[in-house]
Amino acid sequence: MMDQRPDPDALLAAVTKLEHSATRGKLKIFFGMAAGVGKTFAMLQEAQARRAEGVDVVIGYVETHGRADTAALLSGLPIVPRRAYAYRDTVLEELDLEAVLARRPRLVLVDELAHTNAPGALHAKRFQDVLDLLEAGIDVYTTVNVQHVESRSDTVRQITGVTVHETVPDSVLDAADSIELIDLAPDELRKRLAEGKVYVLERAGVAAASFFRIGNLTALREMALRLTAERVDHQLRDYMELKRIAGPWKSGERLVVAISASPLSERLVRWTRRMAYNLEAPWLAVHVETTSTTSSAAQAQLTRNLELARSLGAEVLTVSGDDVVATLLHVGQQRNVTQIVVGKPERPAWREWLRGGSVVNRLIRTSGDIDVYVISGDPDSSSPRGQSWPTPQSSARQYLGAVAVVMAATLVNLALLPFISYEAVALLLLLVVLVLPLYFGRGPVVVAAALSAISWNFLFIPPRFTFLISRLEDLLLFILYFVVALVGGSLTTRLKAQQVLLQRREERTRALYALVREFAQLETIDAVVKAAVAHLGAAFDADVAIVLATGPDRLADRAHPASSFALDEKELGAAAWAFSRQRAAGRSTDTLPAAIGTYHPLRAPGALVGVAGIRPRNGRTLTSDQEPFLEALLAQVALAIEHERLGEAQERAVLLTESERLYKTLLNSVSHELRTPIAAITGAASTLRALPDDQADARLALAGEIQVAAERLNRLVENLLDMSRLESGMLRLRLEWCDVSDLVSVTVQRVRPLLERHDLVVDVAPSLPLVQMDFVLIEQVLVNLLHNAAVYTPPGTRVRLQAVQDGNRLNLIVADRGPGLSPESLDRIFDKFYRAPGAAAGGTGLGLSIARGIVEAHGGTLSAENRANGGARFLLQLPLTPPPPLPAEASLEIPDD
């Protein structure tokens, strides 16, 4: 407690702020109480002074509002042209952020920090543009009025009655390196207003006039002064921290504000932010999620509230619990909270009492050390249960249904009345009321409970057919009935709601589990992306696009093909922004909100692996309770993608080793295969020259040797060329409709010399359909297969070439009666450079590998097996597609005679 050393964390914070500002541009804000105090004028004056010092100053966006003295100050300052955005019928001009970034001045002037950009601009708000400029190391001068400060906008509304829509988060003001207050006495300002020196929008003339009342101005002036004073105080403290000057150290305070789905929670948030700022305390915004169901409108309001808290610098927590008070206090104790802020309930006391006491009362009673602030104006400070009583979702049909059930039960009981007592009737009706909540909402149940009580009274309690109750016992029974029905019904309703919530959670857990399990089985990034798109799409009823990173800082320029919606340039821009800033962008965010999808960076432990775009199909935005789930799923997706990335990198390393091995085999094989025929040719040619004239037989034999060797060389070269075409991916299929019998006959003509000592049998099924293929390449495949048969089977054995249709495939079969394939060969026969053990000299081990490459390029398969009665069988399967129609043949025939 008495430790006077600076808190290390605080010191670190101060140092980082300082370091940060070394690379960042400096932000100076010209701050005023209202329009017309001369902020722009002061800004321009200072800019001129800086220009005179030789600083590179440009104007990004300055509005002179036609004031001559202001306009005069523009002279000599270079202006970056504004960017025009077409919006409905008009053209809006905005700061051209990209142009300024490209121009890279030392200092840029950007007027009106709180301005909202035109739809279509990169950022929704101008202050975001300014943050980008600072990030890029460019100094910025800007102007703000106090009513545009987020945490003050409530107070401004209370004072002036004007709601301010354009606000700047306090964090931006905090980040400013200096704030210069442009002060003007209210009287002076009113005088300038009267002289027409203050720019006022025409349409807002009357409102503006009341805005500029002297009372308002005084209040605004005080606010502006106080804000500036608070800031000075902060700066002093920063300085003292840094210089280790002992002083009033951080208070150790920590605030919690309870947030509900009420619009008034916004007030609580702003109040807490001011309080936290003054105390220099961290603060949390907590929403307690109870079992009650809420409408989508309430859900959206809640999301807005939480978003506001986040933007004002709160740490936002959503916790589940049925008891708001207990949950809130639990969080408080866990996080060492010193103060809790809740709204003052405005519902009647009896309702509080009915529910076991007011939340506020219970909170105050049980809070122990924690101080509780109760702020007015929020009827549902922390108890969203109020919203579901009666359940807003229950439709008219539900009410009618509940009434019908009660009426039916009453009729049945009327029929039973002769046999049972009217007390038993009450029990039966009660049973119906208790079962109802399983199918109906709270409202209908209450109606049913009341209706059944009344009908019991009217139809069954003697004297019957009157509302009179004669016996005290009956009256007691009636009241008891009513209370039991109500309480029982509402208990069942709550049970049901709990069950629904549980179910929803279970569904999410299951979805997450399914995703993780599926990812574990996938082996490529493509498969992971495909699964991610499917799972995310199903979980959020949304279209999903995934853009993968292509490098540490680079994003692919298109969405992954498995994505379920396409990204145009604008969408890709949002995705790129989300990637480079590691923050969500696009729809329902501050950046590029005009985009149709919301883009979330995919963060894995090692790196940023890409961006996921979500576009809900029903056109809604995700609710706050869906967001943590989305984050969990995205984290898994990122993890899986990174995992596959690493796997692929490893595989590439393995492949590289493999290709080195292949390269060596190739060199060995090729050098041998090239040299043998060359040796034969040189030998034969030199012998030929030396041969005497009369040796005609020897001459012929030698010429024959030369020819055989040359043919062998030629085959080798063709194989190598084919292989390299296949490997390089340069192989382009020329698909044409081909006649299979034509293919077979051409092939047979080519291989006949090779197989002249074999018994070649050709068997082409009649009326085969036309097949789409590259005639020349498939011919090459068949030639390779037949050549293989010729080399590996003894002369005199049969080689069969067969073509048959097999459903929607064409089977081309080359079968022989040779020695067949060894088990090892069966596995490896299509590998490059693989040669069966004991193979005859003269092959490269490329023919079959080429054949398979060609067939697979056609979308077909090539396989090998041993035949039952000896020999090998190669099966080539090509897909068949129905050929296009033929023209109708003219019926004119050539006469016979």
Binding site: E718, E736, W737, V776, E779, E889, I894
Partner: protein, 230 residues
């Protein structure tokens, strides 16, 4: 020797030129060589050869360009030599007016046969309306077809197809050339028409349609009606 047909060889490879000179001169041709496309064009105009053997890979001009410039003024038969030309190249050459092509390496026997066929293209047709190739006889005037002296019935399209082949007997016709001639300019890509009609035609004119000896397939390029069936 002095009155044999004159062959102009345009090839930059000295070895190929030497081989061609030896092979052709021993077979009764006169040979004139040139190594460059530009020279080849000039020599063709000066010497008026009976045949041109043109290599595709020339150092100065693309072989296809030489062929086009030749065709601007002469119908002299041109036999193109190439190293492993792709089918697209072959088709482009034939469409540009080459009479035939031969892929290196080639046998001299094959070369001589192609030269003989090409030379025949250029001779004025004997004006005889009846053409006989092996067992096939076609009377172009009477539009009649016989196989082994038995009359054959052809549909109109089949007959148009056969007539085209007969008129260009020995020459390779590309798919698109045939389709344009028989079906019309709009049908140049409809190769499947051709497959079906050629199969039908073979059934009627070939002894063994599964093993044709008259109407030969040039893989990936087109068809050729042979002039000397074996």
């Amino acid at each position: 020797m002095t009155d044999g047909p004159l062959v102009l060889v345009i090839d930059d490879e000295i070895q190929i030129r030497r081989l061609l000179r030896i092979s052709l001169e021993t077979n009764g041709y006169r040979v004139h060589e040139t190594a460059r496309g530009v020279d080849g064009l000039a020599e063709a105009a000066r010497l008026r050869p009976d045949l041109v053997v043109l290599d595709l890979g020339l150092p100065d001009l693309d072989g296809l360009e030489v062929l086009r410039r030749l065709r601007e003024w002469t119908q002299v038969p041109v036999l193109v030599l190439s190293v492993r030309a792709s089918e697209e190249e072959k088709i482009a050459l034939l469409d540009a007016g080459a009479d035939d092509y031969l892929t290196k390496p080639f046998g001299v026997g094959e070369l001589l046969a192609r030269l003989r066929t090409a030379a025949r293209h250029n001779q004025p047709a004997g004006e005889s309306p009846v053409i006989e190739i092996g067992s096939l006889r076609v009377d172009l005037e009477k539009r009649r077809v016989w196989r082994d002296d038995v009359a054959v019935t052809l549909s109109n399209t089949e007959y148009s197809l056969l007539r085209l082949f007969v008129r260009h007997a020995g020459k390779v016709l590309t798919h698109s050339q045939i389709l344009r001639e028989v079906w019309g300019p709009g049908y140049a890509e409809e190769v499947h028409y051709l497959r079906v009609y050629v199969a039908n035609l073979r059934k009627k004119i070939e002894q063994d349609p599964g093993n044709p000896t008259l109407l030969m397939t040039e893989p990936g390029v087109g068809y050729r009606l042979t002039t000397d069936p074996s």
